[in-house]
């Protein structure tokens, strides 16, 4: 009886020590799920979700505070990916939160007074300039978050939609006629 108790207690102590040791040794810094969510988010850092950046939104999703359909720049595809990752139902965007076509900010350099307010607002340091010097957008770094628009005192920043050109054109999903027609607008449908 006593021997059995001692054996059980011994096992418990050994296992407890192993668990305690591995809890320290193999401790996971941060939440890996938040990292995975953050990887799906488009990193525009626009704050449209109501959180100050993509990472805080990812953390909020992990904590169950935020819904998965709050990121318009990620598009519906982003929601699909999140729902797949988190094992929850797909949820469409609300009517006030519709994805917009991709755009970059553009500063009208004739109007800019060099106040640096937009530089302070830009979450990805994509605006170059200094006090009383004209500012300009580094278009390649601009995420199109629109955070520079409200602080501008002279409204010299506008958003320019990135149009399709030969450089960024993509092959389209093949569509072809179900049956050949001689009409101008053939009956087209996907295969």
């Amino acid at each position: 009886m006593l021997a059995a108790l001692l054996v059980m207690a011994g096992i418990a102590i050994v296992l407890g020590a192993v668990l305690g040791y591995s809890a320290i040794k193999f401790r996971v810094e941060g939440n890996p799920l938040a990292d995975k969510i953050d990887a799906i988010l488009p990193q525009t850092q626009c704050g449209q979700c109501g959180y100050p950046g993509c990472r805080p939104y990812a953390d909020a999703i992990v904590n169950g505070e935020a819904d998965i359909n709050l990121c318009p720049p990620g598009g519906e595809e982003g929601i699909h990916k999140l729902s797949e990752l988190l094992g929850v139902e797909f949820k469409p965007f609300g009517s006030d939160m519709q994805p917009k076509p991709k755009a970059v900010a553009f500063i009208d350099e004739a109007t800019c007074i060099g106040c640096t307010l937009c530089i302070q607002a830009c979450p990805v340091d994509a605006i170059a300039g200094a006090a009383k010097q004209m500012h300009t957008i580094i278009a390649a770094e601009c995420t199109g978050c629109e955070l520079c628009l409200p602080p501008c005192p002279v409204d010299c920043i506008s958003m320019k939609t990135i149009g399709e050109d030969v450089g960024n054109w993509k092959w389209k999903y093949p569509l072809f006629a179900l049956r050949p027609t001689s009409q101008e607008t053939p009956l087209v449908t996907s295969a």
Partner: protein
């Protein structure tokens, strides 16, 4: 005799090459207007370096390379620049792109051409010369040739064993390389020697499909005349034997691994037309401003023309007199070419062939039927893929799976669509999936960059805050150290809070002392009437104060 090897699959479409090889290459007349696109090569578009109104000479640089993978563009003849604006170009998207419009003056006046001896030039200089001569792969990929010559000579681990000159020209109808080899073999051999020297390659193999006996004979003659130890090999005619990877397999038995480059297995491959233009660029100082293009199909006189880049395709096609029942045109071959919506497009470096198509020659594809998984596509796929599975994944937009099934090893040769009994446009699905995957990768890179910049910004703001606090503390300390003899300062008061409190106290005392020192000037020497009025005002104020007080204590119900 060197043993040849076979690659998997392949098809035998009707060659239709004899029609356009009956007549020698004709120099196309100078058109009235040239439209020269600035994107005629893989990679970044060239940057225009001329302005509207400039007079340019034949061979003058009008677009300079921008970025690593880029090439230059030259004026094909002398004349005046009349526009630098977006115009229609031959591209599957049909979208316009930046072009330079040149009105020729008819003088065809060359710039000063400078021939160089490739043997005395450092490799860097040689590559730069090719880059500035606009030399790109004319086999179809239009990849800048200087990059293909790049790391090798000074890279000890990568030795180029074999240089392959690709004269296979496997695609039906196209005969521009065939005619080039027949008529200008000596220049091609000279260019091959230049490339061999630059790459320090051990051997040179010239592969030509055996349906071009005249070209093989001409090249063998030219090699014999030059005395160089090159081998001209007749390879069996099998589509797509002209694909670089497959020609390498046939000639050397080596297979380019998935995702690797031919240089990784010690082989480099250049098209014959590219080789010819290398010779023209180095030995004659002529940049790439013209190319040989086949006009064939439903025309009176199918033949090859040497045309200036930028020549309108409709003028070129008119030279061969298309037959009245021509319904549409194809640029490139029938297997990999693209249909043209209009002929009001310029000839570009990639433009090896224009086919006039009638419904008799190219009957419209029957409607696509469901895939029956007969696997005929897998039997003919030269890349040894499973086209029916790739089709399934691409159609379902399951891009991860498509990539896992080696979608990017697909060379888009169209052999699978050719044999498909259900007439499914398979290559279109692969192209869609490939460009979608590439776009996503770009987005991913952009997002990662944005995340990095955002995190760095947060870090910087935090750091600046900390630095500011430290600076303030240091200043505080310095100020204290400056007056250590002050008797009112006990040593334990050196902490920042105490000093701040003391400062505030000192400021308050100072303000009070000042207020006490200043007496209001309007309250002395007053007349009795003024005093009476002041007393009245004071009484009223007291009354109001009293009322307000009572209101607060007994608020009205």
């Amino acid at each position: 005799m060197r043993p040849l090897f076979a690659f998997h699959g392949g098809i035998h479409p009707p060659a239709n090459k004899a029609q356009s090889t009956q007549l020698p290459v004709l120099r196309a007349p100078l058109p009235a207007k040239l439209t020269i696109p600035l994107r005629q090569h893989a990679g970044e578009s060239a940057k225009p370096v001329v302005q509207v109104g400039d007079r340019v000479l034949k061979g003058q640089l009008i677009g300079e390379p921008e970025g690593f993978i880029s090439s230059s563009i030259h004026a094909p003849t002398s004349g005046t620049i009349t526009a630098v604006d977006p115009q229609a170009i031959p591209h599957p998207s049909g979208l316009p792109d930046l072009c330079i419009t040149l009105i020729p003056d008819g003088k065809d006046e060359w710039i000063a051409r400078q021939a160089v001896d490739y043997r005395t030039l450092p490799a860097d200089e040689l590559r730069h010369r090719l880059r500035m001569s606009g030399i790109v792969g004319l086999g179809g990929a239009v990849f800048p040739s200087d990059i293909k010559l790049r790391p090798l000579r000074d890279h000890p681990n990568k030795i180029i064993d074999t240089l392959i000159i690709n004269g296979a020209e496997c695609e039906p109808y196209i005969t521009c390389d065939d005619m080039l080899m027949r008529e200008r073999a000596a220049d091609i051999v000279q260019g091959a020697e230049m490339l061999r020297f630059t790459l320090a390659a051990r051997e040179v193999l010239i592969g030509i499909e055996d349906n071009k006996p005249e070209a093989i004979a001409a090249m063998r003659r030219a090699v014999a005349d030059s005395g160089l130890p090159f081998e001209v090999l007749a390879v069996p005619t099998l589509y797509p034997g002209g694909s670089a990877k497959h020609l390498i397999k046939v000639l050397t038995g080596l297979e380019v691994p998935s995702g690797a480059l031919p240089t990784d297995i010690g082989v480099q491959c250049f098209n014959v037309a590219t080789t010819y233009s290398v010779a023209r660029a180095l030995a004659h100082g002529e940049p790439l401003i013209s190319r040989i293009v086949t006009v064939t199909g439903n025309v009176h006189q199918p033949r090859n023309y040497e045309a200036l880049l930028g020549t309108p395709l409709n003028e070129l096609v008119a030279l061969s007199a298309p037959l009245p029942d021509t319904a549409r045109y194809i640029m490139g071959g029938p297997m990999m070419g693209m249909p043209l919506d209009t002929l009001a497009l310029p000839l570009v470096k990639a433009g090896n062939c224009v086919i006039a198509a009638s419904s008799a020659l190219f009957p419209p594809a029957p409607p696509a039927m469901p895939c029956i998984r007969c696997a005929r596509c897998a039997q003919v796929c030269p890349a040894e893929l499973q086209p029916m599975d790739l089709y399934w994944f691409a159609r379902a937009k399951d891009f991860g799976k498509a990539q896992a099934f080696s979608l990017f090893d697909c060379i888009e040769c169209g052999a699978c669509s050719y044999v498909c009994p259900s007439h499914i446009p398979l290559v279109q699905y692969y192209r869609f999936a490939k460009s979608e995957i590439r776009a996503r990768e770009q987005e991913k890179i952009a997002a990662d960059k944005a995340r990095e910049r955002h995190e760095y910004r947060e870090l910087r703001i935090e750091r600046e805050k900390q630095e500011k606090a430290e600076r303030l503390a240091a200043k505080e300390k310095a100020a204290l150290a400056a007056k250590p003899a002050a008797p009112a300062t006990p040593p334990e008061d050196a902490s920042p809070e105490n000093s701040a409190q003391r400062k505030i106290q000192a400021a308050l005392d100072h303000a009070q002392a000042q207020a006490a020192a200043v007496t209001p000037k309007n309250t002395v020497n007053l007349s009795p009437e003024q005093l009476a009025e002041i007393a009245k005002i004071e009484a009223r104020r007291a009354h109001i104060r009293e009322l307000a007080q009572s209101d607060v204590e007994h608020p009205k119900e």
